[in-house]
Every structure is written in structure tokens, then in C-alpha cells.
Subunit: 451 residues, 2 copies
């Protein structure tokens, strides 16, 4: 019945069902929808209908719904439910999602909510929150089924049927021995294809690739991407403690890329379309004020060369071009290094090769652009010496700019600092200063010929 | 036996087995490894051993191996195999991987290779290559099993056993009716949990979310990310023609983010650590040369104000600061818009809200930075008028810079042009020009007071 409906028709349909109190019809509609869509409708209906919305669906559905809501609606919904029911819902939520919801709450509020949960579930969530941010421990879930290596296929299927609700999204079964050590993996497909009496240890794949709870999330993403896995097991001293699933990894990849872009463009942390103006301004200001002072440094450099500049005012015409191009060439190199480091580890040899490559790139673009601008300057201002000064300055600044954009992030990487922190604007500004020095230095050297 | 080996030990072990011709031992070793690791070892051993390597493994393993190799090694391996065996291998490869391998070949070479394949497989690959780049059609594979809606669970399991090799990585089974229309989906887990005699149509989930072959890959990624799917079906007029799997989507997300960064930083298309220096230089030059000419435009503007500048040389001191900050504030806004558009569609209302928000941000940062620089200029140069000129120029340029960085990508988005094309440097340079106009315009206005 709801097949052909557009999103707004569906929303109206649901509001109508809520108003008329048709619980059965309402549940039938909800059954046909994905959690993301249910959450979207829940968020868009008038607030007064939301309580009945929650009353009309079961705890599993509430758990799925809450996982897809925005932070403030999550709290609102949990509060509406009351401590007992919210505990039941939280028991059913993915613990990684629950952990990232709880960590934004005050300690009191968090403990209140945790108190409604089953003891063991509450402990698992609290354990997850103890792992450092951006590690496998924070992403992992315990919603998976483990099996023992001596099980037969028949026993395995029995266990699967018992734990059906726990194995919802996972497509591998991890195999443990009597010490709970991870010893193998089988897929659902293997189970379907195998004979009922075969033993798991005979059909399992035993060279399992796993991570530890403190493995960085970028490394986890790299492994899942490399091996095309749907999930990867997390072990602690050989003992299986959880799994990280591919859907979390997609979110990691997106947020890591966004972070890189934020840093490269110094656009401020976590600003999206919904961020309030004063918050966005507050997050961007630190960088802009730093930039302002660095700009004053540039100004001081120029003021040192005031005499040169007032003697040959035409020098000012080429200032933005030289500073702009040097800054840009640095950002170009920086972007190549930062993105390259995502998919690849860099040793001393690779770093040396890269620096040498960028040196050559700098020389090539330096000479081409330098000669071009020298000719333009000669034609425009009719001075060969000015052409020489501008052209040779540009060659030098482009080579230095390229190298700075390559070497600085590599040094940061070696020091285990995120190379993207050497954001585009920082490199740009550094290169600005260097280029002004070189340009006015050259000009002062040739001042007699320029006059 | 190979459990505890490091990568280089493993490589030596494999070379030894190849030299000694121990085919059985060699196969046992390979069986324990992931395709990615096998490919890494294959690539790192001396070229003379590679032929025997290929002889020692079966066609399925060769297919898996080739999918993980670099382009040049892929061709080398296919050539080594000879036309008949390479046809068998290509029949087994994922058609999307095969298509992206073939499209880099000359037409003759491609037809030669295709001629060794089974007719229907060869046709499927050629069909894929006919879809526009970066669409679902290019990413989809036909390595999946469909089932009919009237099948029982028992019949389904029978079919699965027959088509075992085709269903390797997929965890959903797509259900079609007698017209081959996609009507539902079930997971392997559903099959395991269901009773043998139940019918697929009774347990299947029928509100299937699907894409068409010409859906943009970013849209496909958005759906898979949103719904946490492991695969999404591709239909053509309702008929199921293939599926896109989550592992391809991770690659899409990474490459789209890299593209955004490349464009935002104008770092040149597809430059990685292995790109040759002259190629990298060639790819970066167009932008730099464009930037050079835009720089000349800036220069021309300054030259228009030569008289103002030579009267008050101190104006030059604040030039880099004003241009730099205006450029940067534009890039900040741009980055927020470009990343925001990835996870969200923007309608007229959202766009208006965003522009209004950024206007407020521009005003806040403009007034704070403007007043700050006015005070600095007053103290440093001892001129209240200079402070006023610099400060009020900065307020104006920061507001305009912020708006330009917001509105330009939104217009491009509306025109269906990739907003990231309004790369950071372009916005920066545009803002440079505008800021110079405003700054020198203001200065000329107050020239009598400045003298």
C-alpha cells in the first residue's frame, strides 16, 4: 500500500494513523521501512505526535530508530521512555552507537540511564567508553555470534537460531577455542554449503586477520578496504572481544576525509550546515587571527624594504602574483602528501624519493613559470632587469614552496603528528613570507639597475 | 606453519618453494593467504619466478590475484597465460574490475583478450564499459545469485550449492518474479533461520531499495552509507541487472574525497607517490599558469593605484594581510559547503539559510578582525586614518570573501557542476582581486587624510 508513496505522502499517512490511533496499521507501515527512513519521518512530524509514535512500536524498533536520530532527539526519546523502558532499549542498541550517545551526557545523567540497563550490557558500554577515541575499541560491537571450533554445522545452526537477534547485521561467524582465543572464521555461506555433520574446525579459515582494541581507526579502515572485508574481529591478548563492521568503517572514511579537508583549508572543526553562526565564527576565528598576525609579519618584511619599494613602485605589481603562486604550489604538494599517506606507509626511502620527485617538479614548473613571467614583465614594464628579478625570484620561490609543502608534512608524519595539521593556509603563509624575502632581496640587489 | 612468519620471511619461503618446484606445498601456502597478500608477494618476487607462480595456482586463484595487481602487472600476467587460459581467468573475474582493466587497453588488444572469454561473459563486460564513468553501471557485478519468489528454502539452498562460486562475497539474495523484476531480498541469515518448507515470498523483505544503472556513484555511496547496506541491487526498467557491493563503495568514498581535495587545493588530477616528476608537473602547470595570469590582473589593479601607493608606501605593508585573510575566509566557507553537499541535498530554503548564516559569520569575523587590525595599524604606523582605511577594508573584504566562498559553489551545485571545481585557489584569487579593489579604493578616497 505504501509502495508508491513519496516521502511527504508517507509522512502525512503516518501522522493520520497516529492521530486515529490505528496501532496495527501503523506497525504494518513501519515494518516496511528502513530505520533511516523511520528516523527521518519521526524527526519531521510535529513534536506532539512523537510520544504516541514511540508507544506504537516495540523496543527493537525503538532501538533501531534511536540509532539513526540526531543527538538532541535521541535524549528526548530516551527521556520520554522512562528509565525502565529506556534501559530495555539501550540493552538492544549497538554498544558503539550507545557509547557515542552517552559520552555527550553529564556524569549524573549517564549513570541514571546506565542504571536501567542489564548489568553486563552496561559494563560493556562503559568498557567501550574507556578506550581512547578513534580506536577499534570505540567502534566495536558485541552484537555478533561466536562459535566453538568443535561444533558441528548442526550445532552451529542451533546456536544461530537461539541468538538470532544478536546476529542481525553480521555475515561472518568467528570461531574460538576453549580459551576464548580467536582461531578461525566461517561465513554464513560456508554454513549453508556445508554438510550438517561437518565440524567447524574442518571448514573454517584459520589465518584470521584481526586488530587489537587500541588499533587506530584509520588502520582498521585500511585493512577492511584492502581485504574487502565486511567486518574485522577485535582481540585483546588473543581473546575475541568484539567486531568492527564495514558500515562503521564507511563513516570513518568519510569523517577522516572531512577532517583532512577541514585541516587543509583551516575551515574550522566540525562546522556543518546546522552550526550556529556564532559557533562557526568562534571555531574559525583562532586561525584567522593567527593569520592576521602572520600577515603583520609579512608587512614588517615589506616595510624593511620600504626604500626599495618606494624607489621602484612597480615591484608592488608583482607581489600578489609571486606570493599567490608560491603559496599555491606548496598547497599542491601538501595535498599530494596528505592524501598519499592515507593509503600508504612511508619509510625513509619513499620519503627521499618523494622529496626528490617534488624537487624536480619544482624546478620544472619554476623554470616554465619564471621564464613566462620574465617575458611578461619585460613587455609590460619595458625593463629587462625587472623581468630578470621577477622571473628568477619566481623560480626560487616555486622550488622552495614545493619543497616546503612536501617536507613539512613528512616531518610531522615522522613525529607522529597528523600531517594535515600543516594546513594549506599555514604552508601558504609561510611561503608568502619566504617569497617576499626572496623577491625584495633580489630587487634590492639589483636596485641600481632597476632605477 | 606459515602462521608466525613476517612478510619478508613469507616471501623468501615462497621463492624457495617455487625454485624447488614444490607445487603442493606452494598451493598449501597460498590457500592460507588473502588475495591482497598474494598479490603483494607476487609483485615483490623477481620477475623470473612469476611464470611458475601462475602455473602453480588454479584459475580461480589467478583471477583473485589479478584483481589485486597494479595495471601493468595485470597485463603482464594475462599475456603470460596465453589467450585460452586468460579467457578462463577473465570469465571468473568480477566484471567491474575486468572492465576497468580493459578500458585502458588499445581496441585491438582488448578485442583479442575478449575473444578468449565465454560469449555471455564477454558481452556483460562490454555492456558495463558502455555505461558512463562513475555510475552504478560501471561498479556493478553480476557475481550474485538471484532466486525466484516461489522457491522454497530447500530449493533456494539447492540453487546456492550449485552456484556456490558465484555467490562468493554477497550476503543478500535478491528475489525476482517471472518477469525478472526485482521484488524482494532475503539474507543468508534469513535462510538459515527459516524452516525448509517456507516460501521465499513469505520471508522476503519486499520494499527493496535499488538504483538504476545510470545512478551516479556518489548517490549509490550515499544510499549504502545511509542504510548500512552491504550491497545494493541495480535495476533497468524494473529488471535486476547487477549489484554494487560495499567494498567498491569504500573505494568510491575514498576516491571522491581525494578528488574533492585535489580540486579544493588544485593539486592536479591523480598525482600519487609513484607519478613521474614531468607528469606531475604537467598536471599541475595549467592551474599555475592560469594563476599567473590572474596574478597579472591583480598587478594591473595595483598599477591603477600607483599614485596612491607611491604617495603612501605604507599601504603596501597591509596588502598581503588583507589579500591573504580574504582568500582564506573564502576557502573556509567553500570547504564547509563542499563537504556539506556530500551528505545532504540542498534545496532553495537550505541554501538561503546557509547564505544568511555565512553572512552573519562574515560580519562577526569581519568586525573582530577589522577592529583588531585598525588598532594595530594605529599603534604601528601612528595614523588613525590608515587604521580606519585598513580596518574598514578588512570588514568589507571578509564579508564579501565569506559570501563568495558560499554562493559560488552553491550556484555551481544548482547548475549541476561539481562545486569543488570552484577550487580553493580560484576563490582565493578572486577574493584577492576584490580585496585589492576595495582596499586601494578606500585608500584613494582618504588619500588627502593619509598624506
Amino acid at each position: 500500500m505504501i509502495e508508491g508513496m513519496t516521502e511527504s505522502q508517507l509522512t502525512l499517512h503516518i501522522i493520520k494513523q497516529l492521530k486515529e490511533g490505528k496501532k496495527n496499521h501503523f506497525q504494518k507501515t513501519i515494518d516496511e521501512l528502513q530505520p533511516y527512513d523511520i528516523a527521518k519521518i519521526y524527526s519531521s512530524i510535529p513534536a506532539k505526535h512523537r510520544t504516541r509514535f514511540l508507544l506504537f512500536i516495540n523496543v527493537e524498533q525503538i532501538a533501531d530508530l534511536i540509532q539513526e536520530l540526531e543527538k538532541d532527539l535521541q535524549f528526548e526519546a530516551l527521556t520520554k521512555l522512562g528509565i525502565e523502558k529506556s534501559g530495555q532499549v539501550m540493552d538492544l542498541m549497538d554498544n558503539d552507537d550507545l557509547a557515542s550517545l552517552l559520552e555527550h551526557l553529564s556524569k549524573d545523567k549517564m549513570e541514571e540511564l546506565l542504571s536501567g540497563m542489564k548489568k553486563e550490557e552496561s559494563k560493556i558500554v562503559q568498557d567501550i567508553m574507556n578506550y581512547p577515541p578513534e580506536t577499534a575499541g570505540r567502534l566495536m560491537t558485541n552484537r555478533f555470534v561466536w562459535i566453538k571450533d568443535h561444533y558441528t554445522i548442526r550445532e552451529t545452526v542451533e546456536k544461530l537460531k537461539t541468538f538470532a537477534e544478536y546476529s542481525e547485521t553480521i555475515n561472518y561467524l568467528y570461531v574460538i577455542d576453549q580459551n576464548k582465543h580467536l582461531v578461525g572464521v566461517v561465513s554464513y555461506r560456508d554454513i549453508i554449503l556445508a554438510n550438517e555433520n561437518e565440524k567447524i574446525q574442518d571448514i573454517m579459515y584459520s589465518r584470521v586477520i584481526s586488530v587489537t582494541a587500541d588499533t587506530d581507526q584509520e588502520e582498521v579502515a585500511r585493512l577492511i578496504e584492502r581485504y574487502d572485508f565486511l567486518a574485522i574481529p577485535v582481540v585483546d591478548n588473543g581473546v575475541l572481544v568484539g567486531i568492527v563492521t564495514v558500515d562503521d568503517i564507511i563513516d570513518v572514511v568519510i569523517s577522516e576525509a572531512t577532517e583532512d579537508i577541514e585541516k587543509l583549508s583551516a575551515s574550522g572543526k566540525a562546522i556543518d550546515f546546522d552550526t550556529k553562526a556564532y559557533v562557526a565564527a568562534y571555531r574559525r576565528l583562532p586561525w584567522l587571527i593567527l593569520l592576521l598576525f602572520i600577515g603583520i609579519v609579512s608587512g614588517t618584511i615589506i616595510s624593511q624594504f620600504e626604500e626599495t619599494l618606494s624607489t621602484v613602485v612597480a615591484l608592488a605589481f608583482f607581489m600578489p602574483m609571486i606570493a599567490g603562486m608560491t603559496g599555491n604550489t606548496g598547497t599542491q604538494s601538501l595535498a599530494v602528501v596528505v592524501r598519499g599517506l592515507i593509503t600508504r606507509e612511508v619509510d625513509r626511502k619513499t620519503a627521499a624519493q618523494l622529496i626528490f620527485r617534488e624537487l624536480k617538479v619544482g624546478l620544472i614548473i619554476g623554470f616554465i613559470c619564471g621564464i613566462l613571467i620574465a617575458l611578461i614583465a619585460l613587455v609590460w614594464q619595458g625593463s629587462a632587469v625587472l623581468g630578470l628579478v621577477v622571473g628568477s625570484s619566481l623560480i626560487m620561490t616555486l622550488v622552495i614552496g614545493t619543497l616546503a609543502g612536501t617536507i613539512i608534512p613528512l616531518i610531522l608524519y615522522r613525529l607522529n603528528v597528523d600531517p594535515a595539521i600543516a594546513s594549506g593556509p599555514l604552508i601558504t603563509t609561510l611561503n608568502d613570507i619566504v617569497s617576499l624575502f626572496i623577491y625584495f632581496g633580489m630587487a634590492t640587489l639589483f636596485i641600481n639597475q632597476l632605477m
